[in-house]
């Protein structure tokens, strides 16, 4: 079989991409950073009942909280986990504090350390050094962080291990069918997550002709040779913002947080908004076209993509 990175046309459906690349027990990174998140992807992973996943990330939000609540997660390696200034990641807390629905293994980093882990993975080196983490308790409880003497000048320096997840799934604004992915707005760690992973899936607001990519090639953050699959998922980040496309639906997220106060409440929310929606399009219909267009209008008042 041809290597999936070699193909000229990598377009498939979200269901196919998750079936093919997210295997039970694999390690997974999702893109975005409190914006341009892989929300639709998290829903699809839950619909397909994937299990025993190791989640490697910087500062995941409700997409991880849902995966934990749905019982998909075995282990997390992260720097932070919350939802928003107005909401905690309740499923994360229930899992770590009470083992509901199951205990998860924890490994803490800082955000820079998490970023360097993906950079190391993308560079194919085993670790990178940083001046963060020194003097803190993070390395006391995470033995994979090493404090060594800098071999050149003898000063203490922290080493963080490379992260090379089995699969990274990144949501972007534009991609062509071969997987050249253009990102507007913050990049977070996505260029490195995509390169560090064994398999990389790009989901995008719009699949665009190659000619569109060639107009501003500087905006291609992830080149075709890292990419295994391309999936068009409009509003794939809702309720999070997607720079140039739609603003953050803060009210939707507030309502999620209300349901999420209790585990039963969360399961009810999940049933209504994820399990009973066959695909992302059904979820979007439920949110309503009118509301989505309102978010688009808000975003365009702030940021426009110059293509």
């Amino acid at each position: 079989m041809m290597d999936s990175k070699e193909r000229e046309d990598k377009v498939m459906t979200l269901r196919e991409a998750v079936q093919k690349f997210v295997r039970d027990g694999c390690s997974l990174s999702l893109g975005g950073f409190c914006g341009r998140n892989s929300q639709a992807v998290a829903h699809e992973i839950i619909r397909q009942r994937k299990g025993n996943l190791t989640f490697i990330d910087d500062s995941p939000t409700d997409q991880l909280d849902m995966l934990i609540g749905a019982g998909c997660i075995k282990r997390v390696e992260i720097a932070w986990h919350g939802v928003s200034i107005f909401a905690l990641a309740r499923n994360f807390r229930r899992a770590v504090e009470e083992g509901v629905p199951r205990l998860i293994e924890m490994e803490d980093y800082s955000n820079y350390a998490a970023g360097l882990r993906f950079l190391a993975g993308a560079m194919n080196v085993p670790f990178l050094p940083t001046r963060s983490l020194l003097g803190s308790d993070i390395p006391q409880y995470n033995k994979r962080i090493k404090i060594i003497e800098d071999p050149y000048d003898g000063e203490p320096i922290a080493l963080v291990p490379a992260a090379s997840p089995d699969v990274a799934i990144i949501h972007v604004q534009h991609a062509d069918v071969r997987g050249n992915a253009q990102i507007w707005g913050h990049l977070a760690n996505d260029e490195n997550k995509a390169r560090a992973a064994k398999h990389t899936v790009i989901t995008c607001e719009e699949v665009v002709p190659k000619e569109e990519i060639l107009r501003i090639p500087n905006m291609t953050a992830i080149p075709f040779y890292c990419v295994d699959a391309v999936v068009e998922v409009p509003y794939g980040s809702h309720p999070w913002s997607c720079y140039g496309y739609y603003y953050h639906d803060v009210i939707f997220q507030r309502d999620y947080a209300k349901y999420n106060e209790t585990y039963e409440g969360f399961l009810g929310w999940l049933d209504e908004w994820v399990l009973r929606c066959e695909a992302h399009a059904d979820y979007l219909n439920k949110v309503s076209q009118k509301r989505l267009l309102e978010l688009t209008k808000m975003e365009k008042a702030l940021n426009k993509i110059p293509i």
Binding site: S84, L134, E155, G185, C242, E294
Partner: protein, 293 residues
């Protein structure tokens, strides 16, 4: 600003934002997250520090969001940003020494300014603690490398402990010399700003002392919320109340009151009223931005 007309009606959370804003000097590069620290920094920019630039870890630098964001990767942070980049790059610039000031939040803080935002153990383990908090995020990196760090936390006895359960973000660790010995290059904390009082750090002993109290708060009120024998400045200042202009800015910048929670508006507002409230403030500030900044 014109004449200083003090606000008659304000909350201590609002005063907390005003006090933090005064830590920002004009022209500084400030590494900051969301919440009250973000409101404080934009208050500084729209009053005494128009040339300060804010760095948000996800990759937005120098932006002017026209209302307070609820998350550190919100697209509004890109509005009028001069540089948009990646997360590992913003932190590399921080580690390189380009940031003057960082402002972090905290769940627990001790007398050496060590911050815990990871877990409250209460006789349980790191893997299964009594309370699992959000984790470092960028806070560890900020206090490790910024020239100065300001810590913001509510003044409560369960938060002001002799020694934090877990040092997520190191202050002066065990006292004088320990930051240097561990290899940290950043300057460490310069202030702890709470909703009742302000603490600063003794240059020699590196422990926190009470520097100022909010109007109407007594030294005894503060001491009763601190879990160690608290030192005080020779002359404890009464913190200057906010001006009407400052309070008006804060309220209009957070039109649904999601950050400062003075009213229950955010809990009750529906989607379309939220859009209207948010956009009306945007139009005002977008006009202001194109005129002045």
């Amino acid at each position: 600003m014109g004449t200083r007309e003090y606000a008659k009606d304000y909350s201590f959370a609002e005063l907390m934002a005003v006090v933090a804003a005064k830590e920002v000097r004009d022209g500084e590069r400030v590494f900051v997250g969301i919440g009250i620290p973000m409101i404080a920094c934009f208050l500084a920019i729209y009053t005494h520090a128009p040339k300060a630039a804010l760095i948000f870890e996800g990759g937005y630098i120098g932006g002017r969001p026209p209302s307070a964001c609820t998350d550190v990767g919100d697209s509004a942070l890109g509005f009028r940003a001069s540089y948009i980049t990646s997360l590992w790059r913003t932190f590399s610039d921080l580690q390189r020494g380009y940031c003057d000031l960082a402002i972090i939040g905290s769940a627990q803080v001790d007398k050496y300014g060590n911050v815990n935002s990871t877990a409250i153990f209460r006789n349980r383990t790191y893997q299964n603690p009594m309370v699992r908090l959000q984790g470092s995020g960028g806070a560890n990196d900020m206090v490790s490398s910024a020239r100065r760090t300001v810590i913001m936390v509510r003044l409560e006895r369960r938060r002001f402990v002799p020694r934090v359960d877990y040092i997520t973000s190191p202050g002066y660790i065990d006292g004088p010399g320990t930051r240097e010995k561990t290899g940290l290059k950043g300057g460490g904390p310069v202030a702890v700003i709470t909703d009742k009082a302000v603490f600063r750090f003794d240059e020699n002993t590196k422990d926190a002392y009470l520097s100022g109290v909010y109007p109407g708060v007594s030294v005894e009120d503060v001491k009763s919320e601190v879990g160690w024998s608290l030192k005080t400045a020779r002359e404890i200042k009464i913190v200057e109340p906010p001006t009407t202009e400052e309070v008006n800015f804060i309220r209009s910048y957070d039109p649904t009151n999601v950050i400062l929670r003075r009213r229950r508006l955010f809990e009750e507002v529906d989607f379309s009223s939220w859009v209207t409230l948010t956009e009306s403030n945007w139009h005002k500030l977008i006009r202001h931005c194109s005129r002045r900044h």
